[in-house]
Symmetry: C2
C-alpha cells in the first residue's frame, strides 16, 4: 500500500540547503508512489508558544493554568485550536514523519520545538501507559534530518562539542521514541554552509540515494518498556544482571555506568 509521509520543515528560506533537502525528499518519495505532505512552519506562521489560547473556550483552572493538563482535557473534548488539530490530523495519517531543520543550539529551532510542545498533546501522543516501546505511534516511523554549523569531527567523543550521540539522545529518545515512533537513523548534513558547492551537491545526492530505501530501513535500537518495572520505572534486576558482563551500556541514557554504545543514536543495529 502507498505510504503517507509528513515532512515537518523549519527553514525561513526557499533558497536554503534545508529547502533543497526537503524538496529532494518530496521528489524521491513522491516518485515512489508515496503521498507527501509538508508542514512549512515559517511559511505557515506556525505559533510556537504553548498558551491558553490553544484551547477553545474556558480553561479548567485559569488561576493555576497547567498546559499539560489543560491541553489533554481540550484534546479529549475536541477543544484544541484549529492549527493544532490540523497538524494532529496530518500526523495521524502519516506512516513516516521527517523533521527537516537546521540545528540551532544543539537542538531544534524554537518554531519546531513549538510544533513538538503543542502538537504532541498528552493523550493524543502519549499517556502514562502508552509510551516508549508501547507508545501510541509505535506503528509509525520518524526521523531527524538536519544541517549543522559544526564539522563532523567536532561532534565526536573527543571533539569540542562532544559526542553527537549524546546531543541526539533527548530528541530521539525523549521525544520520538517516547511517543513510540520507530526512530530511523538521523540524516546529518555536516556543515553545508562551510562546504564547497560540489560537496553540498554530493550530500544531497547521497540523501536521494538513501531516500530510495528509507521506508525499508531498520530503526535505531531502544529498550523495550517491559525491561522496566512499572512503579519506579527502573531497569529490572534480571535485565541488569544479563548485561553486567557486557562491554557497553544499553543506550546513551541507560548506560549502567559503562561506556556508551558507540553510534547507537546514529546507526541502526548498534
Amino acid at each position: 500500500m502507498a505510504k503517507k509521509v509528513l515532512i515537518v520543515y523549519a527553514h525561513q528560506s526557499s533558497g536554503s540547503f534545508n529547502a533543497a533537502a526537503k524538496n529532494a525528499a518530496v521528489e524521491v518519495l513522491t516518485a515512489q508512489g508515496c503521498t507527501v505532505d509538508v508542514s512549512d512552519l515559517y511559511a505557515m506562521g506556525f505559533k510556537a508558544t504553548a498558551t491558553a489560547e490553544d484551547i477553545k473556550g474556558e480553561v479548567k483552572n485559569a488561576e493555576n493554568f497547567c498546559y499539560l493538563e489543560e491541553s489533554k482535557l481540550a484534546w479529549e473534548q475536541g477543544k484544541l485550536s484549529a492549527d493544532i488539530m490540523e497538524e494532529q490530523s496530518k500526523l495521524t495519517e502519516a506512516d513516516l514523519i521527517i523533521f527537516q531543520f537546521p540545528m540551532y543550539w544543539f537542538s531544534v529551532p524554537a518554531i519546531l520545538k513549538g510544533w513538538i510542545d503543542r502538537v504532541l498533546t498528552n493523550g493524543f501522543a502519549f499517556s502514562q501507559e502508552k509510551r516508549y516501546s508501547q507508545g501510541i505511534f509505535k506503528d509509525k516511523k520518524a526521523m531527524l534530518s538536519f544541517t549543522t554549523g559544526s564539522l563532523e569531527s567536532m561532534f565526536s567523543p573527543t571533539g569540542i562539542n562532544g559526542d553527537m550521540n549524546v546531543t541526539l539522545w533527548p530528541l530521539q529518545n525523549g521525544i520520538l521514541h517516547y511517543c513510540g515512533f520507530q526512530v530511523l537513523a538521523p540524516q546529518v548534513f555536516w556543515a553545508p554552509s562551510s562546504a564547497v558547492a560540489e560537496d553540498c551537491k554530493s550530500m544531497l545526492e547521497s540523501w536521494r540515494t538513501r531516500l530510495q530505501g528509507l521506508l525499508e530501513e531498520k530503526p535505531l535500537s531502544f529498550i523495550s518498556l517491559d525491561c522496566f518495572d512499572d512503579k519506579a520505572f527502573q531497569l529490572k534486576p534480571e535485565v541488569q544482571e544479563k548485561h553486567a558482563s557486557k562491554e557497553f551500556g544499553l543506550t546513551v541514557g541507560i548506560h549502567l555506568n559503562k561506556p556508551l554504545p558507540p553510534h547507537s543514536q546514529m546507526k541502526a543495529g548498534c
Copy 2:
C-alpha cells in the same frame, strides 16, 4: 559590589510552582542586596521564532536568508529588533542569569528556546574564537532551575528516561558553557505536580536556602578550550594520554569511550 541578576522565566501562570520558585529567587536575592530583573516571557508575549523581521531594514541576502549570518550583521550594525536589543542589554548588565522553566520534552519550552535562538546572537554571545572556556560571558554565571514531570528515579542511569546528566549536556554545555558562562549546578524540582503540598513547600524552602549562598557557589567542570587543537577541535593527544588510565571520561560528551563521570552535569566538583 551588589550583583545584578536576570531571571528568564517561562511559565504561563502566576499560580504555578515555577512562579513560586521565581518569586523565591527574587525575594531572597533582593534581600541580599542584589538587583533582580525578570524577563517574564509569556507575559511579555515574547516572539519565539527567528525570522527576517528580527532585522530592521533590508537583509543582505533575501533570496537565501541565513539567520545566523544576517543576525550577526544586524547586531554589528545596531539593526536588531528592539525586543532582542532589550534582552541583550539586560544580559550584558547581569552577573548571574537564572533560567526558570518547566521541562517540556526533555528540554526548555519553545518560548525559552526562542529567547536562546534570538538573543544569543552570533557576535554578541559567541564567535569562532570566543566560545567555551574563552567565551564572551566567561565572567558571568548562569544556571537552569526547572520542574520535571517525571520522578527523580526515572532520570537515573537505570531509569526509563535515562541519566539526567545526558539530557542536560546539550543545554548546559551546548548553550550555557558554549557562550562562556560559568554554569552553576541545576536546581531540579522533581515532579512537584505529583507531590503533596508539604513536599512542594519543602522543595521551595531548600531552594531559598541554596539561594543564600548561590553567588558564591563553584561552577560545574568543563574542559578548557586550550585542551583542544584549533583546527579540527579535537582533544590534544597529550590530554588524551594524561587521561588514558582514568576511570571516567572527561565530561558527558567528551567521554573518550569510558563511563560517564557521574553527576558531572548535576554537581560541582564531579
